[in-house]
Symmetry: C2
Subunit: 210 residues, 2 copies
């Protein structure tokens, strides 16, 4: 699916598994490995909880106990890949934001089937409450981590201290989502610097209400 | 409500077809009225081309000739609602952008079922090429119209002439989409002024590369 090797993603994932204290790490990893293999070999069309259960030699109820929906399981495989891409920390906000948009979002989605997989999760979240909850939890954790880029820039005095970090992260992520969902990723790298510059200029002026 | 047989629909369809490739306004309106009524009364769950054909006493092939997918037809009903909301032209960019986000996007989606309907179109566009094409055409037309807000601000000298209007519109629309698709519309009105102020401050500084 992307740059990470399946084995490399696995151990990192187990260290992070905080969602279910009751998950058995070995079976969990086996299920995620099976899910990842099916995604790689057959794509989304061949992906079902049944197929994953068969390949992982696990019971469907076991899978459903840990992942309440097909989208939740797909999202966790997606997260394993994404963990290989750390948040940028280059020492300057401009290069951080450009790297974030390029490597964590647009470029990541352009590699392998990551973009297609994430689009399908977003689509399923529009009609399935369990998928929506899984996506919301994922997004919420990611946006908190991403705000560190802005907070470091505040500490360095690059932007005004009144900057709403969460809102800026939302704008960056939203921009990338919109391009992904409209099938416009290919034209997006050319716009990344302009987006970074526009938002940084915006963050340099204290809000009128402050 | 009379049930139209496939044969009956077909002859009606052929009679209309003789007019040419252009849509027959009367049948078109009847189909859109039927589609709107079904959406209002039964919601998305009850919405199918078959149900619309039955209610409009039209043939399914007629509908499919004009709207290549369920999503395309839903999107056109959605557009009829949206036409009632004109683009703001208040004489100042800040109030234009706030009105655009509030009335044309966030507030519009919060009214009735508009948000739910648009979410379903976006979801369908992720898996169905015909839906993706319909959504792309819609978005493309809308974003061109929306850039007029920015162009007028340029002409008034409110923002730098180097501002990339299309990119700013993308950021505004993307922000709203992201909140819609994450089920976060309710918290969004509180952020609208901050988004407008951030982007306007960004547009007031000429790009470094200019």
């Amino acid at each position: 699916m992307t740059k990470t090797s399946p084995a490399g993603g696995k151990s990192g994932h187990q260290a992070r598994a905080s969602i279910g204290a009751r998950r058995n790490p070995a079976s969990q990893a086996a299920i995620l490995d099976a899910a990842e293999a099916i995604l790689r070999e057959e794509g989304l069309a061949g992906f079902s909880i049944e197929a994953v259960a068969r390949r992982a030699r696990a019971g469907k109820p076991t899978i459903y106990r840990w992942w309440p929906s097909r989208a939740a399981l797909i999202l966790e495989v997606y997260q394993r890949f994404k963990q290989a891409v750390g948040f940028p920390d280059t020492g300057a906000l401009r290069t951080d934001l450009i790297a974030f948009l390029s490597n964590n979002l647009v470029g990541f989605w352009q590699s392998g089937m990551c973009g297609t997989v994430f689009r399908s999760v977003i689509a399923e979240a529009q009609t399935t409450p369990e998928a929506a909850a899984a996506l919301a939890a994922y997004e919420s954790a990611r946006r908190r981590d991403a705000t560190l880029m802005i907070e470091r820039a505040k500490a360095r005095g690059e932007v005004t201290a009144q900057t709403n970090s969460l809102l800026v992260v939302d704008l960056l992520v939203a921009f990338a989502w919109h391009r992904l969902l409209n099938g416009r990723l290919a034209e997006t790298p050319a716009d990344i610097e302009a987006v970074a510059d526009l938002l940084i200029a915006g963050m340099q002026k204290p809000p009128a209400s402050a």
